[in-house]
């Protein structure tokens, strides 16, 4: 198909692969080629079929049609172990690990070497684990319990795990999602080493700077269909985004149209024994205050404390000038706060409940008459709010779990709009949702701010922070380390203050 000039050995190729589920066409005649010593970036919006493709490559799903060729011969994968036998191993998005087991056990789980009598060969496992860890420059022991490791260290365990299976084809599904700047650099060094050893890597990421930094070639999926492939050198970011979305991305972020109003929230010296300290900031009506920082800088912890979900050990909060003590989410709601959490499936939506019950959940009183819930009142309120957010659903009775990620996020946002908050906190509001829904969420945030709502937006995406926030607070290691007034934040400055060496600060 796409003829490349180079003649690197083709390790894996997919041709005409299709996969459907009842009512869903996940993949349609998809093709993919992975070459030895190359990183291939797989790009596409959420829901484009990338996860399904990974599951097919690792034997978790069987394709309905199509051919899979590994090292020149046709194969049918019968499961994860079979895929591993063919040299295909995936490293998953959220590191999937056994926290209470040791590093060595995590590396060899599912394929433990056996010694005499079929018993597990512990000496061999520990030896080999130590060797593999050295190979990925790990600074921890094979006997360490995984629960004591950082996210970056867990990634190394996953890579060691792939190496232990002598993987020739390594799939990395958003490997950098939870990593900080220098951790990403370290990871890229290891990827380069894996390339040099002649392995093929399928690299899945939403971050274009990373794709351009590490990948040799790319393949793009849209709505389950292969829409293009080629060498990295021959494309620009704009080309790829256009291909991914299927339409040109115009004005990325909606602009402020009116000045903001009086002070509404003042936080003074908020502290927690172990997670954050001396957090002070203020917020005006109509303002969007951005919180930037690396993952694990303590931003979510501050927001959860602000919302009464974790207790603070010191500090005070004033709303409209009046001191308030927020010791539960119920109190937070009553003083006019709303909170769209980061993890929408676990903290945001109640997946089994219908849309309208999700929307009314945080404030049911307006829908009761003499203590009895009125379905019609709930439905009317929910329809009005979700309609305004352009929610795509079969009906109000549809379970939230049946919606796409972006639409689930709209349901969670609708839940907070229904409480009519003065202040809305959004923690990573566009994480993991597709570009279309992302633009809708940005537009919504801007509109609410224009109408006088005060917004706190926690985000790890620099373009989003710079594009949306009027003012930016930067957190590092549990403290606020910088504040940028409107128009003064640049990507370079943000990254510099957010990732500065911690020892220097301490």
């Amino acid at each position: 198909m796409a003829a490349h000039k180079d003649n690197a050995e083709i390790l894996l190729s997919l041709d005409g692969v299709s996969k459907g589920f009842p009512g869903v066409r996940a993949l349609e005649a998809v093709r993919l080629t992975l070459r030895a010593g190359e990183v291939t970036a797989l790009i596409g919006e959420n829901g484009a079929g990338k996860s399904t493709l990974v599951k097919i490559l690792t034997g978790l799903y069987r394709p309905d049609a199509g051919r899979l060729t590994v090292a020149g011969s046709d194969v049918k994968l019968e499961g994860v172990r079979d895929a591993a036998r063919h040299g295909i191993v995936a490293i998953h998005q959220e590191t999937v690990m056994f926290d209470d087991l040791t590093v060595a056990e995590n590396i060899f789980m599912g394929h433990m070497p056996k010694g005499r009598g079929g018993f597990v060969d512990w000496p061999q496992i520990n030896q080999r684990a130590a060797r593999l860890l050295a190979e990925v420059d790990a600074d921890f022991s094979a006997h360490a319990r995984v629960s004591t490791l950082s996210v970056a260290q867990k990634h190394l365990v996953e890579i060691a795990r792939a190496l232990s299976q002598e993987a020739r084809i390594i799939i990395m599904d958003e490997p950098t999602a939870a990593l900080s700047g220098h951790e990403i650099t370290d990871l890229f060094k290891i990827i380069a080493r894996l390339k040099a050893q002649g392995r093929a890597i399928l690299f899945i990421s939403h971050k274009f700077d990373e794709i351009f930094a590490i990948a040799d070639s790319w393949a793009c999926l849209r709505d389950g269909v292969h829409v293009g492939e080629g060498r990295m050198g021959a494309v620009t970011q704009a080309d790829l985004v256009r291909l991914m979305v299927g339409r040109p991305v115009g004005q990325m972020f909606p602009q402020r149209r009116s000045p903001y109003g009086p002070l509404v929230l003042e936080a003074e010296g908020l502290s927690h024994p172990t997670e954050f300290a001396d957090i002070s900031f203020s917020l005006h009506r109509g303002e969007i205050l951005g919180f930037y920082g690396l993952v694990g800088a303590g931003r979510s912890e501050v927001m959860q404390a602000l919302f009464g979900l974790t207790p603070i050990s010191a500090g005070s909060i004033r709303i409209d000038g009046k001191p308030v003590t927020i010791d539960s989410a119920g109190v937070a709601i009553s003083v006019g706060l709303g909170f769209v959490p980061e993890d929408r499936q676990h903290e945001g939506a109640i997946l089994a409940l219908p849309i309208y019950q999700n929307v009314t959940l945080a404030k049911l009183q307006p829908h009761t008459k003499h203590g009895v819930l009125s379905r019609s009142s709930e439905l009317a309120a929910s329809r009005a709010i979700t309609g305004g957010l352009d929610l795509r659903a079969a009906g109000q009775d549809q379970a939230a779990g049946q919606l796409s990620g972006g639409n689930q996020q709209k349901v969670v946002i609708a839940k907070w709009l229904a409480t009519n908050p003065k202040i809305l906190i959004l923690d990573e509001p566009t994480k993991g949702i597709d570009i279309g829904a992302k633009a809708a969420v940005h537009e919504f945030i801007r509109t609410q701010a224009e109408e006088g709502m005060a917004v706190i937006m926690v985000s790890s995406e620099i373009p989003e922070i710079i594009g949306m926030a009027d003012r930016v607070m930067v957190m590092r290691a549990g403290r606020i380390v910088a504040e940028f007034a409107a128009g003064t934040a640049t990507p370079e400055k943000l990254v510099a203050v957010a990732s500065q060496d911690i020892e220097v600060a301490a």
Partner: protein
């Protein structure tokens, strides 16, 4: 977490909640009809209003607890200590009766003690963030142990006539149904109202489906769990009053094994053991199905322990067959 947009949407929870409930209850109602017909064929004495009415006394006490247990399980908790709470409450009544106290005092004492036991469970579960199954295995021994120590191998058998009348009599001569069954029916209406028509009930479903998201939505999850345990304790106290009155005695083995019968009623009624779904209507149907099956078979002299086989089979079949059908249909 990752958002798996391309995963098959065939999970049972993804279907409209109402559709599932209706189907489950229809199935239970059909089983009830089959059971009634079957029993009538087995014994000519079965289909007789007086007999059926009398039979309800045998399961109403358990059924009352099952109502509270249903709420508890919907909210993702469980209480295995209910039978032990009955023992403690019944013991307290026996001791007070021996001191010459009248029926009202005994009743208040049983209710208060049941409530206290329930609150103790709720306190342990919420204060220390412990799994309720383990806590209530512990308090099950604790409460039963208290009763054992005080009672030894004796039995308390002197109760005031009014208490026995409550346990044994009809509501009125023109309404010949046992008091305990009438109490159950009234409570079933109250519980159904609370669960299906009030914000409190809605919050239980939310908690059962996703306790974290429920807390993030401002629902006082731990306070509600505490209330549910207290309520279950209170219902156990009420059951103790009715049971002690009916059998007129307190023995060390009173109500042993009831926790499993009560949970069976709730689960057979369609309450999901993993929380988040179930209806009071389903529980009432399951109570009638189990209770009258037992009565019908005892009419033809099937021993209770053998009837238990049938109940076990019913539980597994009722939960298993829909799951099996669903798997066969959704097989990829």
């Amino acid at each position: 977490m990752s958002v798996i947009v391309d995963a098959p949407k065939a999970s049972p929870k993804a279907k409209p909640v109402w559709a599932r409930f209706m189907r489950w209850e229809t199935l239970l109602a059909l089983l009830c009809v089959v059971m009634m017909v079957g029993n009538s064929l087995l014994s000519p004495y079965f289909l007789d209003f007086g007999n059926l009415s009398d039979a309800t006394a045998n399961f109403s006490e358990q059924a009352i607890i099952a109502l509270a247990m249903a709420l508890l399980i919907i909210a993702r908790d469980i209480d295995l200590s209910v039978a032990s709470v009955i023992a403690v409450c019944s013991l307290a009544m026996g001791l007070l009766a021996a001191q010459g106290f009248g029926t009202p005092v005994l009743m208040v004492a049983a209710l208060a003690l049941g409530l206290a036991c329930g609150m103790f469970n709720g306190w342990l579960v919420t204060k220390f963030a412990l799994p309720s199954i383990v806590v209530t295995i512990g308090t099950m021994s604790l409460f039963r142990g208290l009763a054992d120590i005080v009672l030894g191998d004796k039995a308390l058998t002197h109760y005031p006539p009014l208490l026995q009348a409550i346990g044994q009599n009809y509501v009125a001569s023109w309404l010949p149904i046992p008091v305990s069954f009438a109490v159950f029916l009234i409570l079933a209406l109250v519980f159904a109202f609370v669960l299906h028509a009030t914000p409190f009930g809605r919050r239980l479903y939310a908690m059962g489906n996703n306790p974290v998201a429920a807390r993030f939505s401002g629902i006082p999850v731990n306070r509600i769990r505490f209330i549910l345990f207290a309520l279950t304790g209170l219902m156990s106290g009420l059951a103790a009053i009715l049971l002690t009155g009916r059998i007129g005695s307190t023995r060390p083995n009173i109500a042993t094994g009831w926790e499993l019968s009560v949970i069976t009623m709730a689960i057979l009624g369609g309450v999901s053991i993993s929380g988040g779904s179930g209806t009071i209507g389903g529980v009432v149907l399951a109570v009638l199905l189990l209770g009258f099956t037992q009565f019908g078979l005892s009419l033809v002299n099937v021993p209770e322990i053998v009837i238990n086989i049938l109940q076990g089979v019913m539980l597994i079949v009722a939960i298993g067959v829909p799951l099996l059908l669903q798997r066969l249909r959704g097989r990829r």
